[in-house]
Amino acid sequence: MMKYITEARQVIPRMGRRIAASFVGVVIAAGFITACDTNRLLDVTTPNAVPVSLLDNPTNAALMVASAVGDFQCALGSAIGVEGLISGELSDTQLGAAQWDYARRTANTLTNGIYGTSGCAGTQGFGVYLPLSTARYDADHAIANLTKWTDAQVSNRATLLAISDLYAGFSYAWLGMSMCEAAFDNGPAVKQAGMFALAEARFTAALAAAPAGADSIKNAALVGRARVRLYQGNTAGALADAQQVPAGFVLNSSNDATALRNYNRVYTITAQYGFYSIPTWSQNMTTETGQIDPRSAVTLAAATRSADNKDTPIYVPSKYAAGDAAPTPIARYEEAQLIIAEIQGGAQAVTIINAMRAAHGVNPYTGPIDAASIKNLVISERQRVLFLEGQRNYDIERFKLPFNPPEGTDFPTGGGQYGNTTCLPLPDIEKFNNPSLGAGFVPSTTGT
């Protein structure tokens, strides 16, 4: 080795020249490469997505608000499906394990379930927290921008702002009806009462922003605010709002048959695809006299076979039997009337309910009008009038109604027993990835 070192000392100058020549070549090449506009070589397109900042431009204000409305309508469909399955308005007729926790009412025990991760456009399993959160984000994002922009920048700014507030209000309201807790924009957890309060604030803002003539926005905001005020125990406020809603008012989601997102979700998952049906106890529900209430009637989808096996008949609620484009109520006069009946009780409630019954040929209520009876009447009436509009599950929660089938009953399809889910807990995906809730990490508890 010493020999090498000695010789190396002698030849290093010559070696150096040759090595230097080699390196010069490499360096020149590298310099040429880096001097070129290599970024062009790395340019790629994103044909199926656009930067978020696109909607921060006043010229896109209408698109921004339409997006908020569209996302809410899609979310509403999936929320109705999820709430319907948990409350027993729908039954599962497929062999997909992901939905069992809804049908079994055990979704509250498996916080990594699809309710926190799936979107709104599915036909088999769909989420509720994510779609509603998306709608809420859209609307709040729109409110922030529209508040910042001027009328000169955005035509119809007041109307767009009112619409954004309205749909933000319904998004928060539905989140409160579905979730035990939720978090927004990586913030802290908010309980149901907090969500209803946020919803009320947005409805109030919608009423304030709506220009003259925007009656539909105002009436929908009144129904929404009455609902969440009722849920918060503000019966006077709820009554005042509900009483302002004119007869015949309805705000529907504009479903259509052009894209899965816009389908009437209940029709799609029952009559069209056969993944869900109406369980026997929710079919053709009757009044206290045994009369079938046409408002909760169901229709046999004779041509549709269930996805699970060969025998389960598929029923679709008659109110949605028109097809994928059948509208879904977001807010309507009947709900306002039921809120009034619930608050006023007694004979006034009977009068309201009988008036609504008469419009559908249902015999009037003639039973006792003590508080307990009227409460049961209102609950029953709400179950049939608002059938598969997604409100039954929160009624079960707030009225503490018995489960059907009872908790502990063996679940026939996927094992285990029926549980007691009403509201859904904050999902793992929120708990573990929201920095306000622990930044995605849980304490290490064990070794190997």
Partner: protein
């Protein structure tokens, strides 16, 4: 310049003339690749011909490289009879180099014109002069490298037996390269993992190059026949093993530094067969055999119920009851009825190739056809492959090589796992679905015949297939203007068109239609995907002899890779009438979706190597890359490399001190970096267009993005040695590696409260640089020639590898939950299994009158993580016990053991076992049967079952540590017997050589795993953890093969 007459080698010819001549020769070759053309070329220059055989036994060596020293393009590859012929040789005496993987190289001076040369090569456990592909021009000898490179002599393997795929070729033949098969269906592929898992969320698929150009390396393509987003077709297996000469695997970042970003998981170089100078050689292969579901009745579960009657006297079959037990094994039942569920699939394989050439022009052309049937009656894999490789060497300075490969085929697959299919319906059979329990008049019910819900006839209605068209074209120019300056320019493209179709026809059979629900009216889904990979690669090397004992080699290279994917999907549901099959004829047409993705990588490198006395090699290199997926705040990424290799046995002073039985010894060490890029556009925050109300498009939150996203940067260290002993009859190749991934990327969920992640196709995830993962292990290859006698030789190979990965850091915290069963925890391997573990039941009450065991939730005790027990549930009935470590999800030890016995020169018997251990897998079969469907014997017969298991069954889902089971195995992977027909017989039908072989794959296993198969698993779900759920096990395959060479 315009002449197309006789072309003579000239060292002074200009490069423009060389190009023109090359073009002329290419044209001539394209017009007529015929023996006649080759024969005319043979008229030039001197001839060298002869045979290469083994030193012991005088067996012909197939695929040996014979080359004339210092005369570029003057070389040949031996044919099936070991013969070679080189024409156009200049001079009177030349040095002939003979090389073959696994044999000691020969360099011998021969007289030009000799046509009966014979070279007897001795098998060598350690061959350091073999040239391998490392990213530099012309490759490097193994002795120069500081890293280990695995080489598989494919031609030798395929000469002995039928190897169905490239991943099967790699299985057990390269230490540290794990092949994780997905399913036993023909046409399905495996995941390839080199040195274990070193990333949280990025693909662990190694890069794949074919003849120097990057190609599509996706391992999970096609229709999602396992559900949960998993395709099972691997692009790696598009390439026909019969057209491959060798495969080289660069393992780890230190070896793959020059390949830059994306190469951290290793690089697989596939080198296809090339033509060689000499006479035209024709090779034909015919192979036929069967694929068999071995012991199907013993592996498919038997499911149980208690037989009883209802109050009206109707027969019942329920999990909970007191009546007699009824067991159902659908395989046994259907066999007895003469309607077997699974078939014996026919395997057919035909291949023909022609190769040869002159001193200037060499060619290899091949065509092959593979038609394989799986054991599922709908499973088929049909491929046709064509290849033309041309080499033009107009003079010593210039060489053009073109490679053209085209593959087309159709792979039809069947549903399994979560998708349903025969496996699902058989494994989860239900006695309650037997005809005797059907209500009167329920025809469809009687069709179910005990299957889970769908009888085979209804399963087979579904048609899932992938149409494939794949073109891989490359051209490589080697231009060496001076003896000290070499250049290589490689340009190529790999275009893969996949047509992924799923359809159910309009069913006219009413009973059959009942099993398809609304889809009995049929549907068709069509997904067209095209992946294009383009490679532009230039490398120049300057080689100086600075002193007689000191050589300097300086390399510089620049590479530009583009990857472009297009997707077009559409679906039509519900045909109005039978016979209609197009999407446009469907009643409900889903919106068409279109997308394309692009990813470009641009980088360059410089490398300096010094060689002292041709035994000490010191190398330093730097690679710099940029990639279109990097975040906007991230620009060039630099990867360094240094390595040393010292052939100590060539050092006289050391040689004196080595024991006489040590014939060779090399030590080596390397340190280097490589990377792994994040996915397409994952850095961007985006909105996606979706259909909004009233026919308007709207924008919805899509991907939350991460502008600070950096590539994973992996720095690896590797040290090792190779030694040959006892005249190279015994050899050891040992490597220790340690890789450190500093910016390991984790795909974390996006908090839904942000509003992002709801759009179709969104992943609800955000990539971020989460922490640091280190992995280390050893790889050892032992080769021995146990016996080497005239009529008997015994060669033995033992490959062993360990891989241990550990998370060092998770950005300041110590645990992150990945999903329900796998977690990433500091101090543990990524994706280890974690769950609550039931350790005891305080009280279980058995009621013999109802045959039920009752366990209160309060009595179920779980591991508390500190060696004690705690209640699994809280008072509200929620599982609150901590999740504890249950095991590793991927093997930490893999091994293979192969032996080849040669009898009487012509007979060879080869066998290979491989093994994997120290890992567990999720057996969802046992979960579904016991916990969900309640059909396992342990559930229906609870008085004999461990209450700890019952407590889990009764939980319905939250408690299920019983599903994580040891999956260690030893498999008898290959057995083959081949016979080289004696020349006196082959001469009778004009052949140079003929080989007959019989081979069997997967003919046995030893495992404690209780599920269907310790290997089969979901192929491409996001977690690499192994999950078993009604997938077809690996099949037993036997084949008989005849090879002829003319």
């Amino acid at each position: 310049m315009s002449s197309v007459g006789p072309i003579r080698s000239s060292p002074r010819v200009g490069w423009r003339a060389a190009l023109a001549r090359a073009g002329a020769v290419m044209l001539a070759a394209a017009l007529a690749v015929t023996p006649g053309a080759a024969a005319s070329a043979q008229q030039e220059g001197g001839v060298l011909a002869g045979r290469v055989i083994t030193q012991t036994g005088s067996r012909p060596i197939v695929g040996a490289q014979v080359a004339v020293a210092d005369q570029a393009g003057k070389g040949a590859v031996t044919d099936a009879s070991g013969r070679f012929r080189i024409v156009g040789v200049s001079g009177t005496d030349v040095v002939l180099n003979v090389r073959m993987i696994g044999y000691q190289a020969i360099s011998q001076t021969v007289r030009v014109g000799s046509v009966n040369l014979q070279f007897a090569m001795s098998e060598r456990a350690l061959e350091l002069n073999q040239v391998v592909v490392t990213g530099t021009a012309g490759g490097e000898q193994k002795r120069e490298l500081g890293t280990s490179v695995a080489q598989v002599n494919v031609a030798d393997v395929t000469a002995k037996q039928v190897v169905p795929s490239v991943d099967a070729l790699l299985n057990g033949r390269a230490a540290g390269v794990a092949i994780l098969p997905g399913t036993g269906m023909v046409g399905a592929g495996a995941r390839v993992r080199i040195r274990g898992i070193g990333s949280f969320s990025l693909s662990a698929d190694p890069l794949v190059y074919v003849d120097g150009v990057r190609v599509d390396n996706q391992t999970g393509t096609g229709i999602s026949i396992q559900a949960f987003g998993s395709g099972v077709v691997s692009r790696l297996n598009d390439f026909d093993p019969d057209q491959i000469e060798s495969i080289e695997v660069l393992k780890g970042p230190a070896a793959a530094t020059l390949y830059g970003t994306e190469a951290a998981r290793g690089v697989i170089n596939i080198i296809t067969k090339k033509g060689s100078s000499g006479g035209t050689t024709y090779n034909f292969k015919v192979s036929s055999g069967q694929n068999i579901f071995q012991d199907a009745a013993g592996r498919i579960a038997t499911n149980w119920c208690h037989v009883g009657t209802t109050s009206t006297g109707a027969p019942t079959c329920t999990p909970n009851g007191t009546g007699p037990l009824l067991g159902l094994n659908t395989v046994t039942r259907e066999d007895s009825l003469g309607t077997p569920i699974f078939r014996r699939g026919l395997l057919q394989n035909y291949e023909a190739n022609v190769s040869g050439g002159s001193g200037i022009f060499q060619y290899f052309a091949a065509a092959s056809m593979n038609a394989n049937q799986g054991v599922d009656p709908t499973n088929e894999d049909n491929k046709k492959s064509f290849r033309t490789n041309l080499t033009v060497t107009p003079n010593d300075k210039f060489n053009l090589q073109t490679n053209f490969g085209y593959i087309y085929g159709r792979t039809r697959l069947a549903c399994e796992a979560g998708c349903g299919g025969l496996m699902w319906d058989s494994e989860y059979s239900t006695p309650a679905n037997l005809p005797q329990f059907c209500a009167p008049g329920k025809v469809a019910c009687t069709w179910t015949q005990g299957f889970n819900g769908t009888p085979p006839a209804a399963d087979e209605v579904l048609q899932d297939w992938q149409n494939l068209n794949r073109l891989t074209v490359s051209a490589t120019i080697n231009y060496n203007p001076f003896s000290w300056f070499t250049n290589r320019l490689a340009i190529g493209t790999d275009v893969t068109q996949e047509g992924n179709i799923e359809q159910v026809p309009y069913l006219t059979n009413d009973t059959l239609a009942n099993f398809w629900g609304a889809y009995a009216a049929g549907y068709r889904y069509n997904n067209q995907h095209q992946a294009t990979y383009n490679t532009y690669d230039y490398v120049g090397t300057v080689n100086f002899k600075l002193r007689p004992y000191l050589n300097s080699k300086t390399s510089g290279g620049v590479q530009y890779y583009t990857n472009y994917n297009t997707y077009l999907s559409t679906e039509g549901d519900f045909f109005p009438a039978p016979g209609l099959q197009t999407i446009s004829s469907a009643g409900t047409i889903q919106p068409t979706t279109e997308n394309w993705t692009q990813n470009n990588t641009y980088g360059f490198y410089g490398q300096q190597e010094f060689a002292l006395s041709d035994r000490l090699y010191l190398t330093g290199a730097v690679r710099v890359d940029n990639n279109s997926s990097f975040g906007s705040q991230v620009h060039w990424v630099t990867y360094p490399k240094i390595s040393a290799s010292y052939v100590a046995s060539d050092e006289p002073r050391i040689q004196e001190h080595l024991p006489s039985w040590v014939s060779s010894l090399r030590v080596r060490a390397a340190y280097g970096g490589s990377g792994q890029q994040p996915g397409y556009n994952t850095a961007l925050q985006t909105l996606a267009p979706v259909a909004g109300p009233l026919g308007h498009s709207i924008l919805t939150p899509n991907q939350i993005g991460n502008p600070n996203l950096k590539p994973e940067r992996v720095l690896g260290t590797e040290v090792g040695f190779e030694t040959g002993m006892f005249h190279d009859r015994f050899g050891i190749d040992f490597t220790y590696f340690h890789d450190d991934s500093r910016d390991a990327i984790l795909s974390r969920g996006v908090a839904p409260g942000t509003g992002f992640g709801a759009a179709a196709g969104a992943t609800n995830s955000q990539f971020f640089n989460a922490g640091e993962i280190v992995k280390s292990g050893v790889e050892a290859l032992f080769k021995a020639q146990v016996a080497n006698r005239r009529n008997f030789a015994w060669d033995m190979n033992l490959n062993m590898a360990t891989q241990n990965a550990k998370i060092l850091r998770l950005n300041g915290v110590d645990t992150v939950v990945d999903n329900g069963f796998n977690q990433h925890r500091v101090g543990h391997s990524p994706f280890d299994w974690y769950s609550q573990r039931v350790v005891g039941v305080n009280n279980a009450t058995y009621d013999p009158t109802t045959n039920k065991v009752t366990i209160a939730k309060a009595d179920v005790m779980c591991d508390n993580g500190h060696g004690g027990a705690t209640n699994c549930y809280n008072s509200g009935g929620l599982v609150v016990a901590p999740k504890v470590f249950l095991g590793h999800s991927t093997p930490t030890f893999t091994s293979s053991f192969s032996n080849t016995f040669t009898f009487f020169n012509n007979w060879r018997l080869s066998a290979m076992l491989d093994a994997a251990s120290d890992y567990k897998r999720l057996d969802n079969n046992i979960r579904i049967r016991c916990q969900l469907f309640h059909t396992c014997l342990e559930y229906v017969n609870p008085q004999s079952t461990d209450p700890k298991l019952l407590a889990q069954y009764f939980s319905g889902g939250p408690l299920r540590d019983f599903t994580i089971r040891d999956a260690s195995y030893i498999k008898f992977r290959e057995l083959s017997l081949s016979y080289d027909v004696a020349s006196k017989y082959t001469a009778r039908f004009g052949a140079h050589g003929a080989t007959l072989s019989a081979s069997v794959r997967n003919l046995g296993m030893w495992t404690s795993y209780t599920g269907l198969d310790p290997e089969s698993q979901f192929i491409s779900n996001s977690s690499p953890a192994s999950t078993d759920q009604a997938e077809l096990p690996q099949l037993l395959t036997w084949a008989f093969t005849v090879r002829l060479s003319y």
